[in-house]
């Protein structure tokens, strides 16, 4: 089918044309780390363009969760679905973003098995740029996911008291945290052998992290030991910040907490990822 039509389209290699491309010995100067990372980010966007199916997780999943929790549990948890939506939506936004970061590891693991990563690693570019570029591409995915959740929320009756500024700030903070958290998954994707095992381990970590937080309910009714766990969970702090910003309060201490944990995530998992990447067989 496609291969045959493609073969017909190919002309034989011409010697003169080959000579002229080989002789055009242009040696442009080496681009800096920002440009190479952005170029790899462009590659990630091209892949979204060519394989749009990969957006299913950032679109369908949050929509499903928002509808399910609002209408199944909302009334029981908060007295009315409308009241619950005000509480839930910022939380769902956190969950959608944090869960989507897992996909980074799965994609990277698939990608690295292929020969193209060898070529990237053999290029004279800043070494982390293929990974940073992939994560930048993912930031685009997170933004799409966030836009969908917020739009759906507004349609269902979510009314953020913090206005547009609060919403934009909270999304910006979420993107920063998600980008930093992704380094945990890049590390995992370099340790584990198959995309399936990356998915399995990521799920095992993500479910307790997102549910064992204040995303869905106020932890007041939980047993004391669980409250203690929820209290130290960074996702709780992130959800508190996003909720605060969206509803018009600026929890400065909590914002600091989130930024510090973001920096820590990169500081710990970034270098480990790079060592693993350098020594990858």
């Amino acid at each position: 089918m496609n291969a045959t039509t493609a073969e017909q389209a190919s002309a034989p290699v011409t010697e003169d044309a080959l000579r002229s491309v080989l002789l055009a010995g242009e040696r442009p100067s080496r681009p800096g780390p920002v440009l190479t990372s952005l170029t790899f980010g462009w590659r990630a966007l091209l892949k979204i363009k060519h394989v749009p199916e990969q957006l299913v997780d950032v679109t369908m999943f949050p929509i499903m969760f928002t509808l399910m929790f609002t209408y199944l549990f909302g009334g029981a948890l908060a007295g009315s679905t409308q009241a619950y939506l005000q509480f839930l939506l910022p939380g769902i936004l956190v969950q959608a973003n944090v869960m989507t970061t897992m996909n980074t590891g799965i994609t990277l693991n698939t990608d690295i098995q292929k020969g193209v990563f060898d070529r990237f690693r053999a290029l004279p570019v800043w070494r982390p740029s293929p990974l940073v570029g992939a994560l930048l591409g993912d930031v685009m995915r997170y933004s799409i996911g966030s836009a969908i959740v917020i739009t759906l929320g507004l349609v269902l009756g979510f009314r953020p008291e913090g206005g547009a500024v609060g919403v934009v700030l909270s999304v910006a903070l979420l993107l920063v945290f998600s980008f930093c958290l992704s380094w945990l998954w890049t590390m995992l994707s370099l340790i584990l052998r198959t995309p399936n095992s990356v998915a399995g381990v990521s799920m095992m970590l993500m479910f307790p992290l997102t549910f064992g937080s204040n995303i869905f309910v106020d932890p007041k009714t939980m047993p004391g030991w669980l409250q203690a766990v929820v209290e130290v969970n960074p996702i709780t702090h992130l959800a508190t910040v996003v909720r605060g910003l969206m509803h018009g309060s600026v929890p400065a201490g909590e914002i600091g907490w989130v930024l510090v944990s973001s920096v820590l995530l990169v500081a710990v998992f970034g270098p480990i990822t790079m060592v693993l990447y350098r020594n990858k067989k």
Binding site: N2, A3, T4, A6, E7, A9, S10, A11, P12, V13, T14, E15, A17, L18, R19, S20, V21, L22, L23, A24, G25, E26, R27, P28, S29, R30, P31, L35, T36, T39, F40, W42, R43, L46, K47, H50, V51, K114, G115, V116, D118, R119, R121, A122, L123, P124, V125, N279, K281
Partner: protein
């Protein structure tokens, strides 16, 4: 011999208990094609990956274009091109996107990068497939885009890891033409292959690798000579004269004569080509009519068999690379 493009001493790499490369010494002079010949699992790919800075050697040293592959890895990377054994372009992207991506990463402006990508696609006969995803390319087209991707900035040295494995004869010839074209423009090409005729056709010098070690090195002529000068094939007009011919040839050549299944044919492994001419004269003096008289160089297959004790195409173990 000019300066050396590649020099390695005692290069080693193990994966667990598998000694994929067990002490490889290479001296590859600049310009021309250097062939690394060996069966699957011999350590060819592992060697090339160390030279292209993708793998860190466990022991030994390697200099590529005068730069150490560990200490000056970036200097090596900016001067070599690598075409791996498996698709080394992004299959989800189109041909032009792949080349533009690499051009941008190598410092071309967006405009110049696009021009360069278009020129390369033209030169490799892929202009019409430029906007098609690479996963829809045929095997031969994919190899060509792989090689084109290694030439975005013309490298001084290019590594081709089994460039024709799995290609049909027509696509294989196109790849050979590309390799010859690159060499004609002064590049050095290091190619690995498990095909003896490919090494014979393309390579100026050949290293034969088996079980992670170089077991022979030289031009294809030298390698062939190392297993004897070749073999003589004689075919007679009259089969009934074969016994007489065998006696004459044995006396003239001083080697054992083999009688083929063909009742009119004889052959012999030659150690001294000087004697061959004399044997022809002896045959005609004895009144024996010869219809065919051929002196053939031994094939690289015979060379491989003699050197390793097993045939080149067999796969003794899983690919350690």
């Amino acid at each position: 011999m000019g300066k050396l493009a590649i020099e390695t001493r005692g290069l080693k790499k193990s994966f667990g208990t598998t000694h994929a490369v067990a002490g490889v010494d290479l001296a590859v002079s600049a310009g021309g094609v250097y062939g690394v010949l060996g069966p699957n699992g011999a350590g060819k790919t592992t060697t090339i990956r160390m030279l292209a800075t993708l793998l860190r050697p466990d022991a030994g040293e390697a200099q590529v274009l005068g730069y150490d592959v560990v200490r000056d890895a970036q200097a090596v990377r900016s001067r070599v091109g690598l075409t791996g054994q498996f698709a080394s372009v992004d299959e989800d992207l189109t041909g032009v996107e792949n080349l533009l991506l690499l051009a941008r990463l190598l410092g071309y402006s967006r405009r110049r990068g696009r021009e360069r990508a278009t020129d390369l696609l033209d030169a490799f006969g892929l202009a019409k497939a430029a906007d098609r995803q690479v996963k829809k390319y045929s095997g031969g087209m994919r190899r060509r885009i792989d090689i084109a991707a290694s030439l975005v900035v013309t490298p001084e040295l290019i590594f081709l890891d089994e460039p024709t494995t799995g290609l049909d004869p027509r696509s294989r010839n196109q790849v050979w033409e590309i390799v010859r074209g690159m060499v004609a423009e002064g590049a050095t090409v290091l190619l690995t292959t498990q095909y003896l005729d490919e090494a014979d056709q393309l390579a100026d010098r050949i290293a034969v690798i088996d079980h992670g070690k170089v077991i022979a090195e030289g031009s294809s002529g030298q390698l062939k000579a190392s297993v004897g000068a070749g073999s003589l094939h004689v075919r007679l007009r009259a089969p009934e004269q074969r016994a007489e011919a065998e006696r004459v040839l044995a006396a003239a050549l001083d080697v054992p004569i083999e009688l083929s299944a063909d009742p009119a044919a004889l052959s012999a492994r030659i150690s001294d080509p000087e004697r061959v001419a004399r044997s022809v004269a002896e045959l005609s003096r004895g009144g024996i009519d010869v219809t065919e008289f051929a002196l053939g160089q031994p094939s690289l297959d015979e060379v491989f068999l003699t050197l390793t004790g097993h045939a080149a195409e067999e796969t003794p173990e899983e690919d350690a690379a």
